[in-house]
Amino acid sequence: MYTGSGRRYERSEICISFFLFVILYFISCISPVHARDVSYLEEVLAQARRQRLHEDPYWHILVHYKKKAFQFESLVDDPRFFLAPDGKTDPQAELEATIRAFFDPDNDESDPVACRFVARYEWIRQRLDLDPERFGTTGCPSFMDFLDRIDPQSATLVFPMAHLNSPASMFGHTLLTVETADKTKLLAYSISYSAVAHETFGPLFAFKGLFGLYPGYFAVMPYYAKLQQYSDVDHRDIWEYPLNLREDEIRKMMLHIRELNSIASDYYFFSENCSYLLFFLLEAARPDLRLTDQFHAWLIPLDSIRMIEEQGLVTDAVYRPSRTTKIKYLASHLPEDAQDKALALSHGDPFSDTDIPEMEKMMTLELAGEYLQYLYTSGDVPQKTYQQRFLNILQARSTLGSAPDETMYEIPAPLRPDKGHRSNRLAIGAGLDGDDAFSEIRIRPAYHHLMDNDNGYVEGAQLIFADVALRYYPSDNKVSLESLDVIDIVSLTPRDKFLRPVSWKVKTGLTRLTGYDDEDHLVYQINPGGGFAFRNDILGMMYVMMETDLALSGALKGNYAAGIGCSAGMIKCPADFWKIHVFAKTLYYGFEDHFNAFEATVQQNLSIDADRSISFDVSRNRTHNFYETQVKVLWNLFF
């Protein structure tokens, strides 16, 4: 104890001598212009109190204050974001500490407080009509010069769609871009908030992400760097929504982004996530927007786009296809032999100038070039080989001149994601389970089922989270839990000449399994599978999968059953509003409990509009030796 305080004494002594040095240094070199008027500080503080500036909504936007039960609290968790010790919970203390800090001559010259909090500075200066001469600070000229130089002109909300073959990414991401005076989209600044995680161990990663144990930071980089990631490596199509923010509003937003440099907020995947933090930036730009105050138990990025639209900010939607979409598009415009030729070229065959139409030649070479880049980013071709083949292909392409019809590069846009069905689904309906009638109610917060209309979504991708189904059987007059799909993911990606993905599924949650007593028992199920999908013009998407199933329940012998088997099915849309899914599945359970389970199902879905549909399911099951037929009709409402 004694030694401890002794050390502290030593340190403070060093501090004092350093402080003296600093004071002497300042006395010796400060010009009279920088002399501060202490009485002016008190005057400014009094004025701030009189105006009740700390209650101003804009102050609450800048410090991210939200009303909690008894007091305000900032959502920012980084202590460096606050200048008052109790700044996180006291807007007034923080405001006064901020004003004092601006006035303080001793702040770090390399990163002055007026730069670290440049939006606060500019706002306080204007609201209190500060006299910079008497106040003794000129704010942050370096950043203001930077803004003048880049001259931000417009802002765009950017939404990358689901990652190819990874429906979990369907949850998505939103970021902003700011276009500058040269107006080229590629050179725009992209502004994106994300968690900084070092975990590679999945469960820990998800656990920490769900409970806010990762810090989230903003990052700014050129948009082309983001595009390389999304379009060229991740194969995600992108939607860009230009916003109607004015130049002065964008400048205010940029000031606030500067303030958030290196400032951490606890990142919650479902609530305080990338999309939620962008709301603060938009409110900093246009304070009368009501975005951060809307209640969010969870915020899905796509829903955040709808909210931003409802505030009247979105003016348009622009589609930016990924490399794989380009590959598919180019291939779809070429005959089989030209596709084969493009494949051969990307695998190193030389280009032979045969007697085919110029346009076909161009497209074949362009397809080969895109596909070769795809192979390279997938790690299938080493760099040296890639470079040689790439130059050969492009060299051949360059001799053909430019395409006579540039519209061939315009890939038709699918339906906008924000115009697709909403994320929450409520379903009510009735059915027959053998001879027993039942009524059913289901609700799920997210996101897209294989049977839902694909408009605005990625076809063949399913991401279901926390889908609860309750049933009421009048025969025994009780309501029971029918199923709870904690997570149910399906990724069906058709294989073709160019793309050879593996399709897969994973489902876990509570489901019903027929026992030896011919009763349906609730079991906990973990059911993954993997296989292949193909597309046929007549039959639609077809797939086959190997599956395993682990069921846990007291109703099973030894409390569990482990099964292996396979499934196959096809999905076809005879019309845009009508989808049919036919599948069969057989599983053989061994170890403790030996039995077979077989299922054949036909599902149909009819869309009434984007947010309403009717589904009809008919299934025939055989578990042990009990046969069961189930028929069900559900009315689905997306909200």
Binding site: M170, Y224, E370, G401
Partner: protein, 153 residues
């Protein structure tokens, strides 16, 4: 029974991330489960924001897809640095557009090189027809590419 159910749901919640672990790509996939920046980025924000005025690694060959940005000293020739950086970090997509004689990456090059709008189509034709001079070999670096383009003008 209810307690068992609850326990099972909790088990599910633990398994969920494991399943998502295989669902997610190692790369950034979104801001939901699976989105991450692998490196710590303390202070990254405006270091990177300033990238168009600061120099970065200004010399690259083909096959750059990382988009990594590292800042060095500020340069007096801001627009020149911006051009170097742009060509270095978009080598492959720019080469594709030059070979095609059109495209967004080529347009952006024209903007950075301050080619007047009226003479852009000539500029594109010139680059396309001189592709082999601009990209003479696989060892060509971004600095070579720019030098070769400028020698055509």
């Amino acid at each position: 029974m209810k307690k068992i159910l609850l326990a099972l749901v909790l088990v599910g919640l633990f398994i969920l991330p494991a399943t998502l672990g295989f669902a997610v790509n190692k790369d950034n996939t979104g801001c939901g489960l699976g989105y991450m920046i692998m490196q710590g980025n303390d202070g990254l924000l405006f270091q990177v924001l300033a990238v168009t005025t600061n120099g970065t690694f200004a010399n690259q060959t083909f096959g750059i897809t990382s988009g990594t940005l590292e800042c060095e000293k500020p340069s007096k020739f801001a627009s020149r640095e911006k051009l170097n950086t742009y060509v270095a970090e978009n080598m492959d997509n720019l080469a594709t557009d030059i070979a095609k004689g059109q495209g967004e990456y080529l347009n952006t090059l024209a903007v950075l090189m301050e080619v007047p709008e009226g003479s852009r189509s000539d500029f594109y034709v010139k680059l396309q027809s001189n592709f082999s001079q601009i990209y003479p070999s696989t060892d060509v670096t971004s600095v070579d590419v720019l030098t070769n383009i400028e020698s055509l003008m």
